[in-house]
């Protein structure tokens, strides 16, 4: 289907199913049950899942394929966001021009940054991109205040010109030809409450397209060149190929993905601040990609989902909730258990994330995807034993293509 082989088609269909059914899948617990706080199926968080999914998919095209570790991708996210908010201020509250311009501007900016940074590789490349991102952040914060709104950032306001909107002056909301991004449809079944949000589906649609393009890039001769760069740049040079244009193309493509994510953020919530470009935001996408599995297709999306889930769910657990959970214990023990868990929850969610990250990197260097693969292998071995099918001890084991 669409020029994909069976395995990739299945992967794409899986992603489509997961994103379309997310309001159900992420809401496994009834509203008034004690576990309802583990539900992630509310619009705000679901939007963040897919937007950061796009960000991580794009980052993975650079990092996963070429091995160039950029520490400045948040800058492109920020540029995309500023481009989008300006489109909303000047043209229309329709999200289409905002999204298109966010991709274009992020692409242009990444062309400039990539053209300079890609003169170096390894740690020097990482530092150069980090320097660019921090420079962009500082500029947005201070010197460029007329364009970026400085510390307070930019919001869509009633007084904006918005020349394409017929009801200029009237404060509209971000919409897609009249369909407001914040519009919700609720479905109540038994104790469950499912919310379908227009903005989420717009973002999810963009993520599916992004994912499809990423598959095509991974499987194309261009993707093969990028993997060759990661594998042995020396040989590539002695094969008569200049690696620079390839790495630059990968850098710009991943910058455009970041811009798209930035534009979608504005489409969902019409405001921007410079903190979006801070280095922690660049670091976060690195964590997402490594946590999920760099160089795999679906890994970065899983990584993004995991980090955003922990950021929003683990951080909401507080001591009162813990006391409720452990109320069956004797008083002293209950207090003790709560004290032990306390540093890991609420504001301490970073600690939990750090531990999870370390465990994954140490025990599953291929990220969550490697974990999945190992489990799948375990099941296959159990099934295959006795049937005399594939020899599990066969060496060398056939390695999978980039999965």
């Amino acid at each position: 289907m669409l020029g994909l082989n069976t395995k990739d088609t299945r992967l794409l269909l899986l992603v489509i199913a997961l994103t379309m059914l997310a309001p159900f899948l992420l809401n496994p617990f009834p509203v008034d049950s004690e576990l309802a706080q583990f539900n992630a199926g509310y619009p705000d968080l679901m939007q963040r899942f897919v937007i950061f999914g796009i960000f991580a998919i794009g980052f993975n095209i650079l990092f996963g394929l070429t091995g160039y570790l950029s520490f400045g991708h948040a800058a492109f996210l920020g540029v995309g966001s500023y481009a989008a908010i300006w489109m909303m201020k000047l043209l229309t509250m329709n999200v289409i021009p905002a999204i298109i311009m966010s991709v274009i501007f992020a692409g242009l900016f990444s062309l400039l940054v990539g053209w300079i940074s890609l003169r170096r590789s390894g740690i020097y490349f990482s530092i150069l991109t980090l320097a660019f991102a921090q420079m962009s952040y500082a500029l947005a914060y201070s010197v460029l205040t007329p364009i970026t709104g400085g510390e307070t950032g930019l919001q869509a306001k009633i007084s904006d010109p918005r020349i394409l909107d017929s009801n200029a002056g009237e404060f509209g909301r971000a919409n897609l030809f009249g369909l407001q991004m914040s519009e919700n449809v609720s479905l109540q079944v038994g104790g469950w409450d499912f919310t379908f949000n227009a903005g989420y589906y717009v973002a999810a649609f963009m993520m599916i397209i992004s994912f499809y393009i990423a598959i095509r890039i991974f499987r194309s001769p261009f993707g093969m060149m990028l993997r060759a760069i990661k594998s042995n740049q020396q040989r590539l040079n002695y094969t008569g190929l200049n690696s620079r244009p390839y790495t630059l193309a990968a850098f710009v493509i991943s910058g455009m993905y970041a811009g798209l994510a930035g534009g979608l953020m504005v489409a969902m919530d019409t405001q921007v601040g410079p903190e979006r470009m801070f280095w922690t935001a660049s670091g976060e996408v690195v964590l997402m990609t490594i946590l999920g599995g760099a160089g795999t297709l679906i890994g970065p999306v899983l990584g993004a989902g995991m980090i955003k889930y922990m950021e929003n769910i683990v951080s909401k657990i507080n001591d009162t909730i813990l006391h409720q959970w452990f109320s069956f214990m004797p008083d002293g023990l209950e207090d003790f258990v709560v004290t032990v868990i306390h540093p890991f929850i609420g504001k301490g969610w970073h600690l939990t994330l750090g531990i999870v990250f370390m465990l994954v990197v140490i025990f599953l260097p291929g990220g969550l995807m490697e974990g999945g693969e190992r489990i799948a292998k375990l099941f296959k071995r159990k099934k295959g034993s006795g049937s005399g099918g594939k020899d599990p001890e066969h060496h060398p084991t056939p390695k999978p293509h980039v999965a």
Partner: protein, 251 residues
């Protein structure tokens, strides 16, 4: 006039004269070996030839074009391929993909996204890659990951990657280093077969005299950065200057 001419090349690393007034003239379609004791400047000379090092003085011309100041990928595009001392291949890619990359590069050497391309051209490229794998007896291993190949197979793959580009000049840096005797003999046979079947010039840098005397048509002996003798193998064997360079003055 040969295909590759080196004239008056000097290269100093600080106080060390790595190459001193090197003159070489390599005849087209010949197999030319460069031998010499450790530290004679063989690898430095090779790095000058492929553009990795720029000599202090002198000129290197390939088919009348200067190679100095060109980057390795530009020199490759002139028609010079290099086989490394330790096989340099794309270890994370499959054997077939390793072959496809030089095939893509050969067409124009420049950048392209390969986004819009007819199925036919890709098919013909894959056929070409498979035919080359067949020639080096590696067709059965086409789907293996290159990093898991044996040392000898890695070397064959690297040679196949160079040859599929149809280079005019093939530089081999100790092609049999670290190989078992049987593998060495296989490599010698393969190189003989390659040389017999196409218009190619080979420059071999080698320690193993068995390899040198089985293959080379001319031999240059390098000592302390300067060519001592250049002659056909028969005359090199008993040459007093060569013995001196290898065994010291007492010999």
């Amino acid at each position: 006039m040969g295909i590759l001419e080196v004239k008056g090349v000097n290269k100093r690393f600080g106080g060390l004269q790595a190459l001193g007034d090197v003159n070489l003239d390599i005849a087209e379609k010949s197999v030319h070996a460069i031998i010499g004791p450790n530290g004679a400047g063989k690898s430095t000379l090779l790095n000058v030839l492929v553009g990795k090092l720029i000599p202090d003085t002198g000129s290197v011309t390939f088919q009348g074009q200067s190679v100095l100041g060109r980057t390795p990928f530009q020199i490759n595009q002139l028609g010079i391929s290099r086989v490394f001392q330790t096989p340099e291949i794309f270890t994370d890619l499959s054997v077939l993909e390793n072959m496809l990359i030089p095939c893509f590069a050969k067409r124009d050497g420049s950048f392209r996204l390969h986004a819009v391309e007819s199925i036919e051209s890709e098919k013909s490229i894959i056929e070409k890659a498979e035919a080359m794998l067949e020639e080096v007896n590696m067709a059965a291993k086409r789907d293996m990951i290159a990093g898991s190949l044996s040392r000898g197979d890695k070397r064959r793959l690297e040679m196949a990657m160079c040859l599929v580009q149809e280079p005019k000049l093939l530089l081999l840096d100790e092609p049999t280093a670290g190989m078992a005797r049987a593998d060495t003999n296989n490599t010698i046979d393969l190189l003989k077969q390659i040389h017999a079947s196409r218009d190619i010039t080979m420059v071999i840098i080698e320690h193993d005299m068995h390899v040198v005397f089985s293959l080379a048509q001319r031999i240059t002996v390098l000592a302390q950065g300067t060519p001592l003798v250049e002659d056909i193998p028969e005359n090199i064997k008993g040459h007093p200057k060569v013995k001196e360079a290898y065994l010291g003055e007492s010999a």
